[in-house]
Every structure is written in C-alpha cells, then in structure tokens.
C-alpha cells in the first residue's frame, strides 16, 4: 500500500493501554437479520477505556451494520449493547450524548463554514454559545484549520473535510469516538496527519473504535483488534497476542528469477514445492517471491537445490516476521488481495 509505505508510523506499535480502568463499550451477542440474512451474527466484544480498538474485515463482513447497532442508528434483532455499564439497546439517546461518530464520508454541511459546522455540531449536544465557540476555535487550531475556519465547507479539500469531520465528532468530548475508515480516499499527507491526530486524541484519553481497510494502519494505531467475517467475530486479541501466536513459525521469504517458463500461479511452482516439501506451507506473494512457512526450522539447501532443478534462480532468501496482514490472512482465510481490490473499488 503506497500511502502507508511512504510515511513513517506516527507512533510505535501500541502494546498497552495507559490508564485502563474497565470497559467503556460492550456488545453482547448482537444479531441483526435482514429477512433471512444475518448481517451480524452473535457478535460480542468489549472496548476498554483509553484504547484504540480496531475492527477489521472485508466489505460485506458486517462492519457498518455493527457500527450502526453500536451507535443507535439500527436496532438489533437480538443481543444488547452497553455504554459505561448501562444498556442502551433500544433507547440509545442518552448513550449517543457520550459518543462521537465520524462516518466514512465527510457529512458536514456544505453551505456552512468550518467554524459554523463545529458550533452547530456542538449545539446538537447542548453546548452553550460561549462554550461551543471556544471549543470550535480550539479544535480548528488543534487540527491545523484555524486559517480556513471561515471558509465554506464545500471549499475544503478532502483531507481538510475529513479533519473537520473528526473535529466535529469530538467537540462534545465523547467517552468513545467511532471512526469509520478515517483515511480512505484522501491523499498521503492528509492521511498521515489524520493518523497522527488519532494517536494524539488517544494519548489525551479518548477511547477510539476504529474500522479500517488498511491493515497496516490498524497495526500502527490499535491496541486490540477484532476480525469480523460473514457477520461473526473470529478473533479479538491484542496485537502482541496476535503476533506472538504466529511468531513461533519460521517464515523464509524467497525472491527469485525464472530461467524457464514456470507458472507462479497454482498449480505451478508452489504446487510443485508443496509436493516436494509437504512439511512446509507455501504461500506465493507475487510473481517473483514466495514464502515458505514451517512450525520448525527450514532446511535451506534442499529447497535451493529443488528450485534450481525447476529452472529458478534464487536472488535472495531471508527469514521474516509475519505482518499483521499475513496474520489476518491466516486467521480469516481471506485473501488480502481481495480486500485491496475492494478498497480500490470503494475509492472509485
């Protein structure tokens, strides 16, 4: 993903939650059916105070429906939701006062200025005139929009719009902030700024529920991650737990050049390797590299000899640590390429 490759991470990998004191949000066996289809099917998890909780899954997995259930925009067929220990499943208005919600599209008012949009959103949460104007000014400053506060929202760039939408989501100082795909569809620099802002907000104590297509983004920002596939949560773990479970494996990444015609796609070279070395898992990364995964150690020499007999010239072989992307693929069984294609499709 070029956008993320181009920028350094805004912070180190988050491994702990500072100041943790219980859960802020809890979903208890949530079910949402649309006629015969279960869009969300028995989803349970909790979000701890002060953490960034990542919610990952491909399109159609049930992310948006889950967010709608959590924010009160939809009512579950079964199950319950709790905020600060209080159930709000069918009466979400009190809970909504404690939530900040930033949708995947910047949905502020085009005909209002940045400042007016912020004060309007603050008024929706009952902030008085003096208080909302003070907060709006502070947030414009904090988000680097002070110079453009009087400009109409429709004249903002996509990145500025997204920043202002996030500012509108936190103007009433919510207990939890829902961020739905906050960096999708914006330029590299703006995406980087937004990731830094998310990190800053969290360091100031805001609990964040983050959905993203960018697995690397989740890896850099989130304390814990839930994977949702086909409406079911298949894993909720801290990043460390998730990565450690897969770090006992040895992964050899082999880069190569073909000296003769050889299909990298199954059932070509990877299939031949699987037959020759059944004790290893073979994953093809692209046309010129593959990964050999083993629970134990990997015998390099027989592997290189075999590749040579297949007309393959190995240019590099190195041991690598699994990325979250690879862990995601193994945990969910979902090809990352499919997610990327969906993401690109979504942008268009």
């Amino acid at each position: 993903m070029p956008e993320l490759d181009a920028v350094p991470p805004p912070m180190g990998r988050r491994t702990d939650v500072e100041g943790t004191a219980g859960e802020v949000l809890r979903a208890d066996t949530l079910v949402k059916r649309f006629e015969a289809v279960a869009a969300v099917d028995g989803v349970s998890f909790s979000v701890r105070r002060g953490e960034i909780f990542g919610f990952l899954g491909p399109n159609g997995a049930g992310k948006t429906t889950t967010i709608n259930l959590l924010t009160g925009l939809a009512r579950p067929t079964a199950g319950s939701v709790f905020l600060e220990g209080e159930e709000y499943t069918h009466r979400p208005k009190t809970a909504q006062a404690m939530m900040g919600i930033v949708p995947d599209e910047s949905n502020l008012y085009e005909e209002l200025s940045g400042f007016e949009n912020l004060t309007f959103c603050a008024a929706l949460y009952g902030l008085g005139k003096r208080q909302r104007e003070k907060k709006a000014g502070e947030l414009l400053e904090q988000f680097g929009l002070a110079q453009t506060g009087k400009r109409l929202f429709k004249a903002y760039s996509k990145g500025m719009k997204r920043k202002l939408t996030i500012a509108a989501g936190i103007i009433h100082e919510p207990k939890i902030l829902f961020l739905d795909e906050p960096t999708t569809g914006i330029d590299v620099a703006s995406a980087r700024q937004i990731r830094i802002l998310i990190g800053d907000l969290n360091r100031r104590g805001t609990t964040i529920f983050l959905t993203t297509h960018y697995i690397e983004e989740a890896e850099r920002l989130c304390h814990r991650i839930a994977f949702i596939v086909n409406g079911k949560i298949i894993r909720v773990s801290s990043l460390d737990e998730l990565m450690q479970a897969h770090q006992q494996e040895t992964i050899l990444q082999v880069s190569m050049e073909m000296e003769m015609e050889m299909e990298m796609e199954d059932p070509g070279l990877p299939a031949a390797l699987r037959v020759q070395f059944p004790e290893y898992s073979i994953l093809n990364r692209d046309e010129r590299s593959l990964q050999v995964v083993s629970k134990g150690h990997i015998e390099l020499l027989p592997l290189l000899r075999f590749l040579s007999t297949q007309g393959v010239k190995v240019t590099e072989a190195k041991l690598v640590r699994p990325t979250l992307e690879e862990v995601f693929v193994r945990v969910t069984g979902i090809e990352i390429e499919r997610m990327k294609q969906e993401r690109e499709g979504g942008k268009k």
Binding site: G72, R75, N107, E111, L112, L124, Y125, G126, G128
Partner: protein, 244 residues
C-alpha cells in the same frame, strides 16, 4: 443535555442554509407574486380581489412548503448529513419538529405577501384575523408534514419534486380553490373532504369573505387532526425506514 439549544440550532441552520438563500427567497417572493398578478389582473373590482385572496394565500403556502421540505430532507439524506441529526442525542419528535419548523415559518411568510399586496388594493379591516393567521399556520404545518411524508417515501431529490406535484395539483382542483366543492361531481366530493387543504381554504374563505361552507369549529379541529396525524404517521415511517 439542553434540547432547546439543539432545536433552535437546527431551525437556524435550515433557515440560513436553505430557506433564506437567494434562490429560495426569490422563489418564495416570485411565486405568490405571479399567482397574484395572474388573478388580480383579471379582476375588475375590489370584490374580486377579496374573492381570490383565500386561493392565492392557500396556494402560496402549499407550494412554499411541501416540496421545499421534501427536497431539503432528501438532499440531507443523500449527503448523509441527516444521519448526523439522527445520531444526535435529540428526541426524534423534537428533531423532526425542528426540521419542519423552518419550513412552516417559510410557508407562513410566503402567505403574507399576497395579503400585503391586497392590503394596498382593498379594505382588509373586516377580516377575521385570528382565523386567517390560524389557518395560515395550520395549512403551513399540514403542507410541511405532507412534505415530510413525501421525504420518507422517496430516495432521490427529483423523486421528491415529482411526488410533491402528484399530491399538490389534484389537491388544488379538489379543495374548492378554483371550483367550489358543491360544484364538483358528486363522486368527487368525498375525496375533497379527505384533503386537508379543503379545510384550510374553507377557513380562509370564511375569515376573508364569510363564504365558508363549514363552521370554523369544525374546520379548525379537522385541520389540526390532519396536521397531528400526518406528523405522527411520518414519524412512524421514519422509525420504520430510517432507524433500521
């Protein structure tokens, strides 16, 4: 949570971003003015102007409110900014009253224009003013809530316009504005009494020319029932369709 602040913020925002925008403002002025000109130019006497006034006022209110609200809400739903309101900690009834409040005020202001012009041409001192004001406000409210009902039924802005006309034009001909209800074919008369505008027009006719066919104590409650009923029915539809 101060709901009053949120309520007025929504009304003010809608007035600023939609109703008081130059195109809408000019539409709100031009439309009643065009109606007036069309009818008054044909009028030969001051009596004619008074006779035409209830119809022009009723049409100005109807056209100033119905499609305006339907279009603005549909537009906000398309841009997802309406979602922001649904997610605010504001009771749905109050939220929808705030959203419709601006349109009701706009519709009532539209009705003032023909009255102001008529005031220069004929003596309006004998009008039953409380009934005129009450009728204008209730007709504006019921027309706005008709717009709300339409906005829940459609997804696209152009559909809101089309659907508005589907209701408005038959209503114009059946509510006694151009053709007295008593002159309508017998089989159409029951339909006429199913339309809220019939009662609004009848109150105006009674208040301006003492020509109403129903007593005010009947027309006002019926119009009020239509207003409250349409609002509650729209709220029910919103709960069913927008809060999934």
């Amino acid at each position: 949570m101060n709901a009053r602040l949120a309520f007025w913020a929504i009304v003010r925002k809608d007035m600023k971003t939609y109703y008081l925008k130059p195109p809408n403002l000019s539409w709100g002025l031009i439309f009643p003015f065009a109606w007036m000109l069309m009818f008054y130019l044909r009028s030969q006497t001051s009596l004619d102007i008074r006779a035409l006034l209830p119809g022009v006022v009723a049409m100005s209110v109807l056209f100033g409110t119905t499609s305006m609200l339907a279009v603005t809400i549909t537009f906000e739903r398309r841009s997802r900014s309406f979602e922001r309101l649904l997610l605010a900690p504001l009771d749905l009834n109050l939220l929808m009253l705030a959203k419709t409040g601006g349109a009701i005020v706009f519709g009532a202001l539209n009705a003032l224009l023909p009255i102001l012009v008529a005031a220069f041409l004929v003596d309006l001192s004998t009008l039953n003013w409380p009934a005129v004001v009450g009728s204008i406000l209730l007709t504006a409210a019921v027309s706005t809530f008709l717009g709300l009902f339409i906005s829940v039924a459609v997804k696209e802005v152009f559909e809101a316009q089309t659907f508005s006309n589907f209701f408005r034009f038959p209503m114009l001909f059946l509510c006694g504005l151009f053709i007295p209800v008593s002159s309508l074919p017998v089989f159409l008369r029951p339909l006429s009494y199913l339309l809220p505008l019939t009662y609004g027009t009848d109150i105006l006719k009674a208040a301006i020319n003492r020509e109403g066919i129903l007593p005010l104590w009947v027309s006002f409650p019926v119009l009020l029932i239509f207003t409250v009923g349409l609002f509650l029915f729209s709220l029910h539809n919103i709960q069913r369709k927008w809060v999934l």
